[in-house]
Symmetry: C2
Subunit: 717 residues, 2 copies
């Protein structure tokens, strides 16, 4: 999709996550250009053999580890099978003492580094896949019904009766979207994330909009799930209520640490809590309906609640779209098709069917039971907890219900920790997100993405004081944007590809897209003022940002792309045009402030390169210039010296301008500026030095064809 990946092997892209993604292979034309450039490569003189053995003794006997350096560095590398150096674990250790301590603390917290070879392509059985992929979806029933009733109750206790028809509508919507996604799975067996499906069929902008929606969704999944999970705990233990915010932040930090550590065996971890939650809620439903049957399904009349608002259309729509958050997570299976055992798409589709069936059962069952029990949302205790207390007046069942609820919500948040960095990885591979999101940390986790997610989710959680109700309005818009774009993309897909029964399939996806779109509109409009505006504003801004990032990478790639060399050799272009050693024309410039060991080292280094060399001295006064020239003579005048008097005492400015003036007379020159640099051991020594080399480097950055080299002098102290 992006220029960055145009040259890459299409099959290799897919949804496979690999550490090599940071090093994309060359495209066909670039490869050809590389060969052409190589043919014309001439070196001014053939260099001698290397003065060291670059294999570190791999091919012969190993060299003795010396006492040089702080560590015996030879031991940092091992020789692996194909006769190749491999950096061993300790090669990570930074040099300074503080750095090593930090590194040890990191290792204690996150575990030892994991080799690239350990990337797991684990395949899941359906019975494992179901809990892993459904925790996000099923956990939504812990807050979805309450979100809907919480809006309805604003119009007074009598309006709560509307929950039944609204729930019916939502069930229809769930089934429609579920069926729609079932069709997507076989069409995109390598993974059918909304970013990919929408991008493929509707163009990059639609893909980015879906990605932006999903990214916001993942961030909010963490915030909402953690808020609801903490809510489940504080409902059972009201004494903890004042600690909501720190508890939530702690949970996010633990999730971050766990994911930075890399939860490899996550699959099995998910099985028990998810099934336990389902069992607990099913038990609740059975007991609850049995009791209701005992009194002939006569609903308990809810306590009188005064109406805060009139029961208008807008309120009903708001309630509907709040209830729709129960559907978040339905897209999880389609992202994860390659993780199933073969035949992947068939197993994935079956699992999706089960998930939707379970969702409908739990959701409809809970809404109905709440209605029968005459419960009303109230602050301080979740509806699920109220229902639990009514149904299991005492004892372990209530505790089990609350514990599994908290646990499944935690797992739901963890799902976002898996999906958000993966999404960023795919976007970065296309050049739509910063490249650092391609990098896998030393525990094979996408550390940068994990940290970004935690920061965003943590900030939102704190900003909203961890209250689920105020987070819900932001939630639905992003998800349904992604649903809509994905389904609409499938409509286009069928129209293009056709194939057997394409009209029916198109119709199904069109219904899915239309319904999702309606919910999207409903959510955006009815909850605009409550917070949905944040998402409505953020999505276009994010898309704009992604496009700007993509444009930058495209420019960069174009600038760095290899082109076959021009046929005519020669010094025609500017210095930066040259890719062949014989075309580089050198001038070495050594700025010298005073003659001491550091500057003499720089001069010796410069002269030893055997290129034309010029020394420059900037003097504040004529007197000083004369004195310096006289010293230069005393030294032996081995190199050409040019003295510039800077009567206004600036050094960096005149030097930069002088170099620019030199280059303007011969634009094809490559100027190598060699500055001595005293390397200070202590940070507090820095203000004692002018750090001219850094300032010079900064001043010369803008000049093309100027190479800055610092020759270090280390202080013993």
């Amino acid at each position: 999709m992006g220029a960055a990946a145009k040259g890459g092997d299409e099959a290799e892209r897919g949804t496979v996550v690999t550490p090599s993604a940071e090093f994309p292979p060359l495209g066909r034309e670039e490869r050809a250009a590389l060969g052409r450039i190589g043919e014309r490569w001439r070196e001014p003189r053939r260099p001698d053999d290397l003065p060291v053995d670059p294999t570190l003794g791999r091919s012969g006997r190993p060299p003795q580890p010396t006492r040089f350096g702080r560590l015996a560095p030879i031991e940092m590398f091992t020789v692996e099978e194909p006769d190749e150096l491999v950096a061993s674990g300790p090669a990570h250790l930074p040099g300074s003492r503080a750095g090593r301590l930090l590194s040890r603390a990191r290792r204690a917290l996150f575990g030892p580094p994991i080799s690239s070879a350990s990337v797991l392509y684990e395949r899941m059985r359906k019975l494992v896949a179901l809990p892993v992929l459904s925790s996000d979806l099923l956990s939504s029933v812990a807050y979805g019904p309450e979100a809907m009733l919480g809006v309805l109750v604003l119009a007074g206790g009598s309006a709560l009766g509307l929950s039944l028809p609204l729930a019916g509508l939502l069930v229809v919507l769930m089934i429609a979207v579920g069926v729609s996604y079932r069709q997507t799975i076989p069409a995109y067996p390598h993974g059918a994330g909304s970013y990919i499906v929408a991008g493929d069929n509707l163009g990059p902008t639609a893909g980015l909009a879906a990605a932006a929606g999903l990214m916001l969704d993942y961030v909010l999944t963490v915030s909402v799930s953690v808020a609801a999970g903490v809510g489940a705990v504080t409902s059972a233990l009201p004494g903890l209520a004042p600690l909501t915010v720190p508890l939530g932040v702690l949970v996010i930090a633990v999730l971050l640490a766990g994911n930075l550590r890399g939860v490899r065996t996550a699959g099995n971890l998910f099985v028990l809590p998810t099934y336990a939650f389902v069992v607990a809620v099913l038990a609740l439903l059975v007991v609850g309906y049995a009791r209701a049957a005992g009194r002939g399904f006569a609903p308990v009349s809810p306590p009188p609640v005064p109406a805060a608002e009139g029961l208008g259309l807008l309120l009903v729509l708001r309630a509907f779209s709040s209830g729709a958050v129960s559907m978040t997570g339905i897209e999880a299976v389609s992202n994860a098709v390659p993780a199933f055992r073969p035949t992947e798409w068939r197993n994935a589709r079956t699992t999706l069917g089960w998930m939707v069936a379970m969702l409908v059962t739990l959701f409809a069952g809970l809404v109905g039971l709440i209605h029968l029990a005459g419960l009303v949302p109230r602050p301080g205790e979740t509806l699920l907890s109220q229902l639990g207390r009514v149904t299991f007046p005492t004892g372990p069942w209530y505790v089990l219900l609350q514990a599994t609820t908290a646990l499944i919500l935690l797992l739901a948040a963890n799902t976002a920790f898996n999906d958000f960095p993966r999404l960023l990885f795919f976007m970065a591979r296309d050049g739509h997100a910063p490249r650092r999101f391609l990098h896998m940390g030393d525990r094979l986790a996408f550390s940068n993405g994990l940290v970004a997610l935690s920061l965003a989710a943590g900030l939102i959680f704190v900003a909203f004081r961890g209250t689920t109700a105020s987070l819900i309005p932001l939630y639905a818009v992003g998800v349904f944007l992604a649903f809509t774009l994905s389904q609409a993309g499938m409509v286009v897909h069928w129209r293009r590809r056709r194939g057997r029964g394409w009209r029916r399939r198109l119709a199904v996806n069109a219904v899915g897209a239309t319904l999702s779109g309606l919910v999207l509109l409903t959510a955006a409009v009815s909850k605009f003022a409550e917070g949905a505006w944040v998402v409505v504003v953020a999505v276009p801004l994010l898309v704009l940002l992604f496009r700007r990032i993509h444009r930058h990478y495209a420019t960069l790639n174009e600038a760095l792309a290899l082109h076959p060399p021009a046929t005519a050799p020669g010094p025609a272009g500017s210095a930066e045009g040259e890719e062949l050693p014989q075309e580089v024309r050198h001038l070495v410039v050594v700025p010298v402030a005073r003659l001491n060991r550091a500057s003499l080292r720089a001069l010796a280094y410069a002269a030893s390169l055997g290129q034309p060399t010029l020394a420059v001295h900037i003097a504040p006064e004529e007197v000083e210039a004369d004195r310096f020239r006289e010293q230069w003579q005393a030294w032996g005048d081995h190199l050409r010296l040019e003295t510039i008097v800077s009567p206004y005492r600036a050094v960096i400015g005149p030097l930069a301008h002088y170099l620019e003036a030199l280059r303007s007379t011969r634009p094809e020159l490559t100027l190598t500026v060699i500055v001595p640099e005293v390397v200070l051991r202590r940070r507090w020594h820095r203000p004692l030095h002018s750090r001219a080399e850094q300032r010079l480097r900064a001043a010369l950055r803008a000049l093309p064809g100027v190479v800055v080299t610092s020759v270090p002098v280390h202080l013993a102290e």
Copy 2:
């Protein structure tokens, strides 16, 4: 005194301020070593003639200004008399648009740059020198008497009568210290600052203690003078009283701006306000005493004031040492001897005599008149203002008194703006203060020292809310420490040098030192709790800091000092020991992440140096390593490539360790690491890049003998 200046020409040091001080001349041994090193200099091959004309066409016809670059840089330089390039004004302009705007704003505020040749060695007539040097001293009578009475009044109105004997004691002290300083002047005709006198005779630590005392004194002079000046204004216009703090900060900012601009013609500026202040106070005294004579010098009895404290010895001592702040500034003449017309020391001595006479007259006259008028210090109006209102009930004389008081206090603060950076300059020349205080800004002002003073004084002013009374306790200790050390230094001086009448001179200075020392002790003990403890703690800490700074510079100078080369040539030492080109053994290493134009440029640059070159690729996986080697073959395998697999995906760490391992096998090698660097035009693009070159540079800083070179590629965008 310091090792930094050991080699310098002693006569050149003195108290002359010169921009060349940043470039100290070589000592005799270093010069000799330089010649010896030069004799052994051999280049591997004689470089060709330079490919450009380094004189920018000075010797021939000037080259045509080209369109290259953002400015026509040739015009940045002019050719002056001795056939030399001189950077003209515009050579200051920084490249970016924001930088140029800033530069223009600077120029509007501070004026165009001033050439080094304009350093003024202005000589002052006595009648000009008197007001210039006495503003600090004479302005003290605006707050000195009040400071004394403000302490006495704590013991009730009756204790105020003690002011007369205390004033008598202070007059004796003033005369003793004045006479003592009169002797110092001819002994140190090149300037007799306490730092130099104490350092010369009592050792560096005493000099540094005197310097620390003086530095604190200068900072407090600014704070106290500005506070008292603002007090003079708010006494006349009480409506401005709430604005005390912002007014004071504004005054300090204006003083800073004026001094950054460089007040060259400052001398004449001082004449009028100082004489006007003296005239106004003398008029006050004449009219006041005439009135008092009219009623037979019968003192008006002061209003009854309840006693807050008992009248103990400590209180009297506190009052005495508070009154002693009237003497601050008495050292000004001795610092400035070289600024007088010849014979300098004689004119300086005469001027000091006048100053002390005027101080005694004003101080004693004011204390007496306040006593006769029965005035009592009270918040909201200064005593001088009260006296003015009593003596000149209405009309322009009162306004004149307040206006000249405010003005002379402003000038007193300005004196500190002259002296503080000069003191830092001398300390920096000896290596006791950061070298940046040697640098004269483009307006020939010591910008760094001025900014440091303003920040310190402003912070103190704000911290004490601009109230003179609470600042006074901090004030006396620093000054009298400098007085004591300076006079004690003179005692040692006479004992060493002897000469005509040395016993008498020694006795005079001994009396001065003893009295100053007693006041110092009195002030430190009696006002310890009121704030003097700050100074008592700060002085040793500052001395410690100065000594640490000096030690760092000494280490540095030793490390960088030139030594004659060892007789035996050869590759015995480590790479950083070499100062001769024939001793430098090169190995060029090019880390290559991927093959693109940037890395091919870096490879071409490396190969064009004609030194042994090794390319290194760090691969995250074996697969990627194979792919890269295959590309390398496609390119033509022109350079030796070593591939390192980093299974934990770190790049910088393994690379740094590999280089360390290479060097450990041949410690005499100089490793030149050449990295391509993409130069980004916009700041927001930075997070999109890994900035591996910066991280590599930071990682390799600690390794000796490793030179890092970045070959830039500029993006067109």
